[in-house]
Subunit: 351 residues, 2 copies
Amino acid sequence: MYFKTKKITATLLSLFMVLSFMVSCKEQTGTKPEVVEVTENLKKTDPLPSWNDGKTKNAIIDFVEDVTNKDGANFIPVLDRIATFDNDGTLWSEQPIYFQFFFALDRIKKMAPEHPEWKNKQPYKAVLENDMPTLIKQGEKGLLEIVITTHAGTTTDEFERLVKDWIATAEHPTKKKHFNELVYQPMLELLDYLRANDFKTFIVSGGGIEFMRPWTEAVYGIPKDQVIGSSIQTKYEYNDGKPYIERLAKIDLIDDKEGKPVGINRYIGRRPVFAAGNSDGDLQMLRWADSNTFKSFKLYVHHTDSIREWAYDRKSHIGTFDKGLDEANEKGWTLADMKDDWNVIYPFDKK
Amino acid sequence: MYFKTKKITATLLSLFMVLSFMVSCKEQTGTKPEVVEVTENLKKTDPLPSWNDGKTKNAIIDFVEDVTNKDGANFIPVLDRIATFDNDGTLWSEQPIYFQFFFALDRIKKMAPEHPEWKNKQPYKAVLENDMPTLIKQGEKGLLEIVITTHAGTTTDEFERLVKDWIATAEHPTKKKHFNELVYQPMLELLDYLRANDFKTFIVSGGGIEFMRPWTEAVYGIPKDQVIGSSIQTKYEYNDGKPYIERLAKIDLIDDKEGKPVGINRYIGRRPVFAAGNSDGDLQMLRWADSNTFKSFKLYVHHTDSIREWAYDRKSHIGTFDKGLDEANEKGWTLADMKDDWNVIYPFDKK
C-alpha cells in the first residue's frame, strides 16, 4: 500500500499550522527591489545577471565550468547532467500559505453554487464565510475534505482547465500579482544557464504534479514530463468510444522529504548532480544528490529578505529550514542568501 | 490502494500460460533475412532504409511531414510531439517468453548458492532442475514468488548492476544472441526519424521499468527518464550518512492495458501523437493517442514473419493480438507487416 497514514498526517498537520499562521500573519506589501548596478560589460556575458558577484555566484559558475570541461577530472556526461529543483520557496514564493491552498479555497467558492448545502455544512461554511478560526477548528479531517473535494472527482482534462483558468486570473492577496509572476528571476536565469550547458532540468516538488504541469512549461521552460510532484491515483475509463482519466480520492505519492528521492528514482532513474531546495523537506533530495558518484552541487535558497520577499527559516511553519540549514553549514553546501545574493527577486522588478 | 488483485492475477496468468507454452514450443532457428535492394539514391536520403517502399512507410513519412509543416492545418508544436513505444514485441522480440522472465530464471540460479534450502523447496527446485512441468504446477503463487524473489529485496543500485551484468552476458536460447541485440532495426530507424523531427520518444512497456532503464539508453537512444514500465514500490533509507533506495515486495504500477494511459498521464502528462504497439495490451495506449486533439498516428507491428522472427497474433499466449487487430482494421490504423514491410529485422542482419 502506498497510502502512508503517518505521511498524510504530517502533511495535513503542516497545512493546519499554516492556517493557524494565516490567521495571525500580518499583511506585507511588496516594495521596489534594490537593484545592484551591473556593469555594461558584465551584462553582455554574464549568464546570471540577477545574481550579485560573490561567493555564491562563483560557486555555481565554477561547478558548471568544471563538470562540463571534457578534459577535466570531474567531467559529467550529458545524460548524467540531471538538475532537480523544488518549487515552493525555491522557484516561486510560498507565503503566507502554499499557493496551491489558495487554489483549493478558491475552488470551494467556485463550486459552492452547485452545493447549496455547503452554506450550513463544515468545513465548507467556514471557507465560504472566510472564517479562518472556524476552518482551523475543523482540524485534519476538514482540511483533507477540502483538498479531496477540490482535487479529485474530475477528469485530468477538466482539472487542467481549472488550474489554467485559476492561474490566469487569481491574485496574491498582498503582492497583487498573478501567482505565476511571483517566480524568482535569479532562479529562471539559473535554469537557463544549466540548460545551456546541457543539464536536464526537473521540478521535484511537494506540490501537486497536475497543479504544476499546466503552467510550468511557459513559466520555467520545463516540459510537463520533467515535472514531478505529489499525486493522487487515477483510473482509465472508456465510454462510448471515448477514453478519459478520472482523478480518484486516493493518495499516490507524497513527493516530500523521503518521498523526493523516491520520486526522483521513479521518474528520472538516476541521482541528480545539481539539486536546489529551500527547506527541511528538500534535505533528503540534497543528500540524494550528495551521494552521486559524480561531483554534485547542493543549493539552498535562504529566505532572508523581509522587504522584497519574506524572511523565515528555523521557526517558520511554511518552509521550515532548520535541520537543512545545519547540514548545509556542516557539509559546506551552497546557501543563496536572497537579500545579499540576488539583485532582483521577481521578473517584474527587472530594470 | 494501487495493488489490484485482478490485474496481478491476469499478469500471473499470462506468465503461467507462457510457461505452459514454453514446454511445448518448438525451437526455431534464425535464418538470414531477405534484404530487399535499395537504390543508391534512396539510401542517401531515405530516413527509413529498412522499411520497404509502400503503403506503411509512406503513411509514416506523410504523417511526419504533415504535422511538422509549420504552414499546414495539422501542425503540432514541438512540446506536443510525444511518441510512445511499447517494448516487448514492438522494439525487441518477445518469444518464446518475455525476455525479463529469462532474467528471473537466471537470477534464481545465480542466487542458489546462498540458498542451499532451495534444492528441496518449490518453486526453486523446479527452476534449478530446469523442470518446467513441475514449475508450472506451482501455479500463480510459485510464479509470484519467483518474480518477487528476483526483483525485490535489493537496493536500486544493486538491481541496476544485476541487470547490466545479465544483459551483457545472457543469450537467447535459439537466436544465440544477447537479448539487446534482438531489437528491430526498422524501429530503431523510426525512433531516430521521429527524434530528428523533434518528437520526444518514450518507452511505455508492461516490462519492469528498472529492468529496462539500465540498457535502453545505449540501445534505443531513449534516456532513463523517458522509460515508463511496471514498477514495484520503493523506500528511501538513510544509514550512517549514506542514502539508498530499497526495492519492496509490493506492486506499484502494472503498466499494461488500462495501466498504459495511466502511466502516460503519470509520467508524461499529455496524450501521445504517435503510439506504437503490437498486442491487445497496447490497445488502450493507441486509443489514448487516437483521442488526442492533434492529428495522431497509431502503429501496430504485426508479427507475420515465421522465418526471420516469429509469426503469431490472435491465438498467441505472448503478445495476443486479437481485439487490437480488429480495431486497427476498423479504424484504419497502420499495420507494419514484418514480413512484407521490413527488409531487415535485426541490426546484425544489416548488409
